[in-house]
């Protein structure tokens, strides 16, 4: 190799510089999302861990069940029954979308289009949601 004595050290410096941000940040920041939980309810429809991992699948199953299969009642692991409705069931407890849903979604850069149609609260007074619109760009769904 020609000019190895320049090229190899330069490559080492280059790679070190490229990887510097990854090493620099490791372990210094703990990733944490602060969501505001409903104050008057203790339990969600399923356990906290299940909801964290599977809420999107559950909502997907719900929308197919309600619209396509005419099933509207969800029975959870404990046998308690709920109406399969994002607005009526989820948003009744998690009344403030921007303090619960958005906290995580914004952080991880997902932009679910549920609220393009679904109302953010069963108490909502006007068709246009009062909260600020979700960021237009970034994220898919």
């Amino acid at each position: 190799m020609y000019n190895a004595k320049y090229i190899i050290p330069a490559m080492i410096v280059f790679i070190a510089l490229m990887l510097f941000p990854f090493f620099y940040g490791t372990g210094t920041h703990k990733y944490e999302v602060q969501v505001e939980l409903p104050k008057d309810q203790k339990e969600c429809i399923e356990a906290k861990e299940v909801m964290r991992e599977r809420h999107m699948q559950i909502l997907d199953e719900w929308r197919n069940a309600v619209v396509r299969d005419e099933v509207r009642i969800y029975t959870n692991a404990k046998g308690k029954k709920f109406s399969m409705s994002l607005t009526d069931t989820c948003m009744t407890c998690h009344a403030e979308k921007d303090k619960f849903c958005d906290r995580c979604h914004n952080d991880v850069g997902v932009n679910p289009y549920c609220w393009d149609c679904h109302n953010i609260s069963p108490e909502q007074k006007t068709p246009i949601p009062p909260a600020a619109e979700a960021p237009a760009e970034g994220g898919g769904h």
């Binding site: 008057d40 009526d88 393009d116 109302n119 909502q124």
Partner: protein
């Protein structure tokens, strides 16, 4: 002593008031106390049928009654009010000629000529819209209702080209600004730009065990029931009265019958 006693009474009254207010506020927030939000119990006794159908007694209809039904429909389903080509129609009215263009006699009675005929999705037995939908966003339920799954609609508008009755409307724009605040129903979703919508025979009300919104306000001019049950009120009415369906030559076999 006297003043401290008075102070004590004031304090007691104020704290009792505060406690009461606190409790009231809590009750207002708790979902268990809010009566109009549907819960699982709301859907325990749905209305079921082999094949839902409707008989429309056009002799009882006036422009006002058509508008009354249309308003009930708009209110139930957050249908936007838009004039012109971007209009969104679930329940609307037309003349006899518009409703039955290929069944119009050369000389039509004046009464029928001027009558306002209510129009809506016919929930056909062989729906053209279902056959052409590339994503099965429009599908036929086991009980005959032709239903829309907005989650799957890609807005291709094949169904609008397929439907012989013009019963489908495309959202060319965000419909939310065109929904009147006083007619807004927070328990039913709105639509978004780029999906097609139409009458659903109020599947969400049938699931609650209620009749469709237009039938409720129609003063008996609309009869909704099970076409598959020969003892039902609607079949009884069909046996008694002569009825016609819209555009029979399109071959879609509508489930909506008209008494002329």
């Amino acid at each position: 002593m006297k003043s401290s006693r008075r102070q004590f009474m004031k304090l007691a009254a104020a704290s009792a008031l505060g406690l009461g207010a606190g409790k009231l506020a809590f009750m207002g927030d708790a979902p268990a106390f809010a009566s109009d939000i549907p819960t699982a119990a709301t859907f325990e006794h749905p209305l079921k049928a082999k094949h839902w159908g409707m008989v429309i007694d056009t002799t009882k209809f006036t422009k006002e009654l058509v508008e009354k039904c249309a308003h009930a429909c708009r209110k139930q389903h957050n249908v936007p009010v838009i004039e012109g080509k971007k209009e969104v129609k679930w329940f609307w009215g037309g003349t006899f000629e518009e409703a039955f263009p290929n069944q119009i006699p050369e000389y039509l009675s004046e009464d029928v000529e001027k009558r306002e005929i209510p129009l809506l999705c016919n929930h056909c037995e062989s729906p053209m819209c279902v056959r052409v939908c590339p994503t099965q966003a429009t599908f036929q339920r086991a009980d005959g209702i032709v239903m829309m799954d907005m989650h799957r609609c890609i807005g291709c508008r094949y169904c609008m080209a397929g439907c012989p009755f013009g019963a489908r409307s495309f959202n060319f724009q965000n419909p939310r600004p065109f929904i009147k605040d006083e007619d807004f129903n927070p328990n039913y979703p709105t639509r978004t730009r780029g999906v097609v919508e139409k009458c659903t025979f109020c599947t969400e009300l049938l699931a609650e065990g209620k009749m469709p919104a237009c039938v409720e306000v129609s003063e008996g001019a609309l009869t909704f029931g099970d076409l598959g049950d020969e003892n039902s009120e609607i079949r009884h009415l069909l046996r008694e009265k002569f009825t016609i369906r819209r555009k029979p030559d399109a071959g879609t076999k509508p489930s909506v019958y008209y008494i002329i």
